[in-house]
Symmetry: C2
Subunit: 242 residues, 2 copies
């Protein structure tokens, strides 16, 4: 299937026959919620363009991002893992578009194809790695390292230029907005990024990678290993926008 989504574009004819008929195109505007904490996930999503965040909001209201999902996989792994829901929320962070599919149809498709399930499970492992890396990273690394890492992960999914306010970046990193301002200024002064009023541009990905902690590389390399077409995923020199 012709698609920017790595899972969809890797489907064999027989796999596609199970999935395709149930796909419905969907716009993914900023802040759209794909699923909520502890509510049954009715649809899974394949993102073509843009980026979703797996958010953990604690009872006191503080929110942190624990994972990011773009065109490399699916949104709704709890459905695949037969749990139907989870205590996190998933919101669109960078707008784009994609496909959605009812959970029931998705479960039926997975039951009928071992190879399809395999691809999805491997993505799930890559996603798990990412969250596990975040757990360590959130504990040990500075704002600057984590900020650089986050921007690179975003770039791998949506390209060099995307809408993003410091306010939201602060939520992603689980820090104060003022802390992001200081850090962003540093990165800008170093010529690594540019930004103006809610729009950010990556100028020097290699330089940014030097600033980022190793968590970026570790997570990215596992994505490359585990995801169909992963060798194409996030090539630092590659241009993903035609």
């Amino acid at each position: 299937m012709e698609s920017r989504n790595f899972i969809l574009s890797s489907l064999s004819a027989s796999e596609e026959a199970l999935i395709r008929p149930h796909l419905e195109p969907i716009a993914l505007p900023h802040k759209l919620t794909l699923f909520r904490p502890d509510e049954v996930i009715t649809h899974i999503h394949f993102i073509e363009q843009g980026c979703a965040s797996l958010l953990n909001t604690l009872p006191d209201g503080d929110t942190v991002e624990v994972g990011t999902i773009g065109n490399e996989g699916m949104v709704g792994t709890p459905v695949l893992l037969e749990a139907d829901r989870m205590p996190c929320q998933c919101d669109i962070q960078i707008p784009g578009n994609g496909w959605r599919m009812p959970s029931a149809a998705f479960k039926a498709a997975v039951r009928q194809s071992d190879t399809l399930r395999g691809k999805l499970l491997r993505f799930t492992q890559a996603h798990f790695n990412q969250v596990a890396q975040s757990a360590a990273c959130n504990r040990l690394h500075t704002i600057e390292e984590r900020c650089a890492r986050w921007l690179l992960m975003c770039r791998d999914r949506v390209g060099d230029d995307f809408p993003l306010t410091q306010e939201y970046l602060a939520i992603m990193l689980g820090v104060r907005r003022a802390g992001v301002t200081v850090t962003a200024k540093l990165l800008q002064n170093a010529g690594l990024i540019a930004y103006t009023r809610g729009r950010i541009t990556i100028l020097d990905p290699d330089g940014l990678e030097d600033v980022a902690c190793d968590c970026y590389r570790i997570t990215r390399d596992e994505f490359r290993r585990l995801i169909p077409k992963g060798e194409a995923y996030s090539d630092p020199r590659g241009k993903r926008t035609p």
Copy 2:
């Protein structure tokens, strides 16, 4: 099957026939490594008694625990997710015993039973939730909250009294040993725990729960929902040692 492990004890006769013949009893002494970063996982493990830690060691040598596994599930989820390995290490933190099974036999068993796979996938989701919660918790909560949470999670798996030095607890929490000493002293003075030279006793689990962050409850409740016999898992009033 008669077992303290919730997965094993929930197996139907047909599931047991797929698993049982391949199980080999194994002692789980402190510091035993069940799998290493980026090395193929040759055996999966079912813990009967004791507790394993999923550890993330960064290139600079710092180590943090990102997840805990005891008798509620299996060690080796990357095998189930068809990824064979992952960038974390899994060590025994609290000694005990269990069973191991070659990965190949495990994969064959899972292929032959959808219900078995379902149970294992649901555990995987619960484990994923735990790691996702840790990512947020590590970012937002104080040493004291996280220490109380960790001790409670341990208690749910191994009982009220277990060997544990402050040195190791510090690694688990990703903080200095001196920081743990201060915190442990606070908890001890409050009458919540007691400890002497590498041995810790939970005196007041309810009091400890008041000190712990909500992350504890959130993770535990999802374990209860998703794991076979989960309703028995970690009942705060229950006694798990006969």
